[in-house]
Symmetry: none
Subunit: 524 residues, 2 copies
């Protein structure tokens, strides 16, 4: 019998509390669509009213046509000195117009008295009022007992009263949060059992942080004891040591413990989702991250490696393809082949499995990935690569040369950036120059200038996002650099990629790919 | 009552199986001394006979005057077709002359038949013979049942027979290994209980890998069920997803569960040990690693931050000083006065709350953050800003001009990058030029060339990480760009930041800050 667990993703809210993360509204919307497509049940999008970016997000997200996910707005109980209907923080939640509203309330007595500076009874009213009020304005209310486990250890009666107040207000889920991440699995288990013995029979959820390095098992042990909603983030991104890692929890629950989480056929996209989110929030996935890391199925030593080939069950806990990862030993190209056929089919290209060009293509892609290319968020570049390989891509122009100059004197407020581009179309040369806000902008403009006379539709192309990632960090300013560019025209957005140890060259590759993709897709 | 758990470190053997690790004999000896000083009970130094480096290590390690640690040599049971005393692999173990010898034996039936290609009975003899033989030549023999949990699930009777063979041979510890890392804590617990019910009453150990993201709790749950020896590595370094992380297990066991592991007063050196090993094996410690990561106690949001300062117990699971880490208040958008005062105090600058310069400084920081600066990961730039604002920063040089040229012709494989820098020190001009792997590397080199004659210590500065982030994404290649640079010298690492709509200018600012910080901190 399969039991169902609802996956509640808070990458866009708690995940963005990670040091160094700063995502745009556009990033958040792209992640939302991806998680929806992946089959996540709940997506916590942000905290309405906390900043203009989140407000914009909740406006835009309503326009998306989501198939699987419910969007949740996050906030807190009303303030002690305001009526619930008069509290603008609560009103902001309603205005977000989401099908789910999630609020946290204090459940640790000393937090009520010392952080909120109110009394214990008052806090219970705040919990009850806020849940009851919100329940009138949305389909589902999720209540998070903040610091629940610390609270329970300090004052179990009071912690349970807080849950009861939320329950009486009509909360659909009572989520027990280990906000400081200090609780170990044996305590999680004991406390959930006791909470049930104390009469809580609501649908429970778990929200764990990784400060004790046990967040994954803290979450799972809660499920084994009856929790039906698991909060976490992609790659475990989050403040301090991060949130519970959904990229580990989902396969542990489904592949090992027989729970139903996201649709089973989507689990093989786990690594893709992990990389996509990492690229957009600009945090790396550690190589040794379970299931999704690049080295998660890497075998060193030769004997071991050859044994793996003979019978992988001997040395691998799961088949890496189950999570979209792959064994890292140069064995066979079979792993990638089916991916490529799948990809090509998506592009409307039917390929025969025995077509020898597929193996070559897989080899080429592996080489590029080894060099530092990432195609997860650069599907336009991947499509160009596939089409080129299959002889299905026109030659639109040839590069002859480019040159960029950046110069600044101490009297200047800003440096000047100038680019020149010389390209060849048929037997004709175009040689153009442009200034720009920076070297890449200058190159972008000079190239567009050179091409737009012959290909007027390129005027519609707008580069809307530009991301830079160091591939081999330890080499400092001599490191290899990956540039991801997102472009759009009136109809569509697309991503392209370039890699080089020169940031200008990497950017140039991505910009050139973007222009070629535009021409290709328009059938020029 | 405190119960004692023996910590068995295999960083030098299993840990070096991690991708990208390559340590010298000298490195291994330095790590040995450090771990001994830290109070680790067992240090597995390598596999004698497997490579010349390990042989050299075992020769040298005998000369060290260790206070706490016993050195273990690692190897396997004798081969099926040789008598134990004739097997050179076993003789190598004896020749290492260590007080402890650790061998693994197969305990999964299909491994015996498919990998060893021998029969089940023969394997039992191999285990018994080898343990009995080694026990005559050393003080302690540790027996590791390889793939024990998978073996037990496949054939429990046989797995237990293997343990019994080692026990009869005289093994001092029977270590149950989850070699593929696929076993979850609930199974670890069940199987250890059953093993005891089947009559195994020896001293047990646990050897876990992190493929299911539960290695820490797998190890601890074994301890809770009676295991007295825990195998793991510093920072969890190891093949695939790594070994069980001792930097989490040690504080979980001692600070939270009341076990005696390493001497209690040494726990506060945990972060130091973690960094030391990471530097020597040349793998980074992820910022969000529990207990020892740089962000493990980092607090973002301003309200939250001010609450932490008031009563840290509310928001931290342990006092960071207990593990030698420290609280990190991230100066982000919400920068307030109390953050700045706290920050200044960290830098050894006492500020009066009423000092009017603080309000100005907060205003300036907010303006810079609004423009796109981030000081969270650029504490050196923040320190320079604070010191400059308070008139506590020397002027080391003036910029006169820089110029960077990047050029590529279609015949070139890579573009060429050339930078020139002209600076003024006192009334003297330095004008230098350099090529580089890319424009930033060329600038970095040219600037160092210009300064190193007057400030020779700058030769020690190495730029080890370089991050680029677009601040206002929607402007495409005309967007504002933030560059974060991480630098180090022999003693320390520091982060600096630059922002501009020109990536070269932003990088320049961060590199210049890094050099100034180095001079300032050295008291030049």
């Amino acid at each position: 019998m399969e039991k169902k667990v609802l996956i509640y993703d808070t990458t866009l809210r708690d995940g963005t509390q990670a040091e160094g993360v700063n995502v745009s509204v556009e990033d958040k919307l792209r992640i939302t669509e991806k998680l929806d497509d992946f089959g996540i049940h709940y997506i916590e999008g942000g905290w309405p009213g906390s900043n203009p970016k989140d407000d914009q997000y909740f406006k835009e997200v309503k326009k998306l046509n989501l198939k699987n996910s419910k969007i949740a707005a996050f906030g807190s109980t009303r303030r002690a000195y305001l009526k619930v209907e008069d509290d603008p923080l609560v009103q902001n939640l309603v205005k977000a117009e989401t099908p789910v509203i999630t609020i946290f309330g204090k459940s640790w007595d000393i937090h009520v008295t010392q952080a909120l500076k109110t009394d214990l009874e008052k806090n219970l009213e705040m919990v009850f009022d806020t849940v009851q009020f919100l329940k009138k304005h949305t389909d589902e209310v999720v209540f998070i007992g903040e610091h629940f486990f610390d609270g329970y250890k300090s004052n179990p009666e009071y912690a349970v009263k807080v849950l009861n107040a939320a329950s009486e207000g009509g909360a659909d889920f009572l989520v027990l949060a280990d906000t400081n991440g200090g609780t170990l699995p044996n305590e999680i288990e004991r406390i959930i059992k006791e909470v049930k013995e104390r009469g809580i029979n609501n649908r429970l959820g778990i929200h764990a942080h990784n400060d004790s390095d046990t967040a994954v098992w803290n979450s799972i042990v809660a499920v084994l004891n009856g929790a039906v909603q698991v909060h976490g983030t992609i790659n475990g991104f989050g403040e301090r040591c991060g949130n519970a890692n959904l990229c580990s929890i989902i396969p542990d629950l489904t592949l090992k413990l027989g729970y139903e989480t996201i649709p089973r056929e989507n689990i093989k996209r786990l690594k893709e989702i992990s990389n996509f989110v990492a690229d957009l929030v600009n945090l790396p996935v550690p190589k040794n991250m379970p299931y999704v890391g690049d080295s998660a199925f890497a075998h060193k030593g030769g004997v071991h490696a050859s044994a793996v080939i003979k019978n992988s069950r001997l040395y691998e806990h799961i088949d890496p393809e189950q999570v979209g990862n792959r064994r890292k030993i140069l064995v066979s190209d079979l792993a990638g082949k089916s991916n490529i056929i799948y990809k090509a089919r998506e592009l409307g290209i039917q390929l025969d499995e025995k077509d020898p060009r597929i193996a070559e293509l897989v080899r080429e892609i592996k080489q590029l990935e080894n060099y530092g290319y990432h195609f997860e968020a650069a599907e336009a570049s991947l499509e160009l690569l596939i089409r080129k390989h299959l002889g299905m891509l026109k030659k639109y122009f040839d590069l002859d040369a480019y040159r960029v100059l950046i110069a600044r004197r101490y009297t200047d407020k800003e440096p000047v950036s100038e680019a020149t581009v010389r390209i060849k179309i048929d037997n004709h040369y175009e040689h153009t120059a442009s200034l720009g806000y920076g070297p890449v902008n200058a190159l972008d403009r000079a190239l567009k200038k050179a091409l737009v006379g012959i290909y007027p539709s390129l005027a519609e192309v707008e580069l809307i996002d530009y991301k830079v990632r160091i591939v081999n960090e330890t080499a400092g300013t001599a490191a290899k650099i990956r540039v991801l560019v997102e472009s759009k025209d009136r109809e569509k957005k697309w991503g392209t990629v370039g890699v080089s140890d020169n940031i200008i060259e990497a950017s140039w590759q991505a910009v050139v790919d973007s222009f070629i993709y535009k021409l290709m897709k328009d059938g020029v």
